[in-house]
């Protein structure tokens, strides 16, 4: 079976990254926004793994980095969810546009 070139993978990851970004910009539901961010992070993971596998197979920096990213992302998500819950308590909504009290 023939090798998939790195560029393809990078293309996927980039696409994923911008999809995530688009989601972040457009979705009003904070949870969804969080998920979009996760998408972005995952695209980064793909990058790391791909780079590691294709360019520098002798060392494992990339893999480790992606592992750490996953972990951190989890932690981030946990805190974020907690905050969102609290936001819901105070605002009775998790629509991002309802939380625009502070401006200008």
């Amino acid at each position: 079976m023939n090798e998939i070139p790195l560029t393809h993978i990078l293309f996927v990851s980039t696409a994923l990254f911008f999809i995530g970004m688009y989601g972040l910009f457009t979705r009003r539901n904070i949870i969804t926004m969080l998920m979009s961010i996760e998408l972005m992070l995952n695209s980064v993971n793909i990058n790391f793994v791909a780079f590691n596998k294709y360019l520098f197979p002798d060392k494992l920096d990339g893999l480790f980095f992606s592992l750490f990213i996953i972990t951190i992302a989890a932690a981030e998500a946990a805190v974020a969810i907690a905050i969102i819950i609290n936001l819901y308590r105070s605002h009775q909504s998790i629509d991002v546009d309802d939380a625009t009290e502070m401006k200008f």
Partner: protein, 469 residues
């Protein structure tokens, strides 16, 4: 595994010890807040003191963790800031149920910063960064009841997550083009490779977000306004300072080959930051928001200093940060006392403040003068040295722009002074009784503001430690 590693990591270890102690206090039997606060302050003081003794040069975990006198100094400054913040938030925490958690969060974040500052590796740097950011998002939400607080936390966590996404993208590009994560090796691989440059851009954007440089600053004001004063102070002083230190060291250490490129980036950023920061600060009435924008403008000046990319540059950066710690924390101290005891956070509430609280008024005034850069306060020297460092590049347009913007910034700082001293108010803030320890903190700040500037040995010491390109 020799014992040197303990000396090398002593500040981090101490801090972790503190964190564990806090956990024990939390699960241990019920104590009065006062006693806990006193214990913590004492511990923090020890923590600060420990940093001052025994300089340490070298690295650990094969280069992931590096340390030297300069880095130790930076960490000490952060410790000092932490101590002052905790002393000043006494009045607020005195009757707050979850004060242990509060300290847990801040300490964890501080620990993260330490690792970030002395990181020798992109991975370590990233870990430190996140470790310092995520707890802060929680801390921003510390007033669980307040709507603004949760909104602020939401904004912080979302945008910081986004920015770390961007940052990581950048790091991945750097990794992809150089195949390494450790700074020392990376330097050798830095070239004009466009992908690498794009990665660098993303990395810089991540930094710019953390130090809230325009146009990556927009979260700042809202978060500052929403979160409790103590957290705001921490955000505006400690976290900003830490990121600045790291940013400078990475720029100077790692990206030296493309210095000319990032010089122009810094110039553009600083111009935008000063301008926007000033223009927004002009209109603010909420004190925290006002300080947020003013601190954005300050960052602009700091960027000018960094752009000098010389020994004087990094020295003036650290020097300014030290002064900034004193001045900004003095201001925040007054604000936190007022908001804790009188529940007022607007500049217009400070009208006629001098009649009722002369001491606080003077502290605030001196702090503001220092922020504005009026002699004989230290802020004057700080700002001037930053600009001098920047002027070394013979880019006088930038200097002219900056010095004229200083005039604008004078306007809004003096506006507060005007409110305090000159304007009448039918419902002035009543006479406040300040906790002794907070008072002490304020005295320390004032002393710092006066001495750090006039006593040149401070600057000379920093200069002797600092390194340029």
């Amino acid at each position: 595994m020799s014992s040197t590693i303990f000396i090398l990591l002593r500040q981090e270890l101490l801090l972790s010890l503190l964190i564990f102690l806090l956990l024990f206090i939390k699960i241990g039997k019920e104590r009065s807040n006062e006693s806990i606060l006193n214990i913590i302050n004492v511990l923090l003081f020890i923590n600060l003191a420990a940093g001052l003794f025994g300089s340490s040069e070298g690295g650990a975990f094969n280069g992931m963790f590096t340390s030297n006198a300069f880095i130790v100094l930076e960490k000490n400054i952060l410790n000092l800031a932490m101590l002052l913040i905790s002393m000043q938030s006494y009045a607020w925490l005195k009757n707050h149920k979850q004060l242990a958690e509060f300290y847990l969060l801040l300490f964890t974040s501080l620990l993260g910063m330490f690792f970030m500052i002395s990181s020798g590796n992109l991975l370590m740097f990233y870990l430190g960064l996140e470790m310092s950011t995520i707890p802060l998002a929680a801390a921003a939400n510390f007033d669980l009841a307040k709507r603004k607080s949760s909104e602020a936390a939401m904004k912080l966590i979302l945008s910081s997550a986004f920015s770390s996404g961007i940052l990581l993208m950048g790091i991945s590009f750097l990794y992809g083009t150089s195949g390494t994560l450790s700074f020392d090796i990376l330097t050798a691989h830095i070239s004009n490779n466009p992908m690498q440059l794009f990665g660098f851009i993303l990395l810089v954007s991540g930094f710019a977000f953390k130090i809230s440089a325009v146009p990556f600053h927009l979260w700042t004001a809202d978060v500052y306004e929403g979160s409790p004063v103590a957290v705001t102070a921490f955000l505006s002083v400690v976290s900003k300072a830490a990121v600045l230190f790291t940013f400078t060291s990475i720029l100077y250490k790692v990206f030296t080959p493309i210095a000319t490129l990032w010089y122009s980036v810094l110039v553009v950023l600083s111009i935008a930051t000063i301008l926007i920061g000033n223009l927004f600060a002009l209109r603010q009435d909420n004190f925290k928001r006002f300080l947020a924008f003013s601190s954005i403008a300050q960052v602009g000046f700091i960027l000018i200093g960094i752009s000098g990319s010389s020994q004087a540059g990094s020295a003036s950066l650290v020097y300014f940060v030290l002064i900034y710690v004193f001045s900004n924390l003095a201001a925040f101290g007054v604000v936190s006392v007022v908001s804790a005891l009188a529940g007022k956070e607007n500049i217009s509430d400070f009208k006629g403040f001098y009649k009722t609280n002369p001491f606080l008024s003077w502290v605030l005034t001196i702090a503001l003068f220092s922020l504005a850069g009026v002699p004989p306060t230290a802020g004057f020297f700080g700002k001037l040295f930053l600009m001098m460092a920047g002027a070394a590049k013979d880019n006088y347009g930038l200097i002219i722009f900056a010095s004229l913007n200083m005039v604008v910034s004078f306007y809004y700082y003096l506006k507060v002074v005007k409110a305090i001293f000159m304007e009448e108010n039918e419902t002035p803030i009543q006479k406040l009784s300040i906790p002794k320890i907070t008072q002490l903190a304020m005295y320390i700040c004032i002393a710092g503001i006066i001495i750090t500037g006039l006593a040149s040995l401070v600057y000379d010491y920093i200069y002797s430690l600092s390194i340029g390109i």
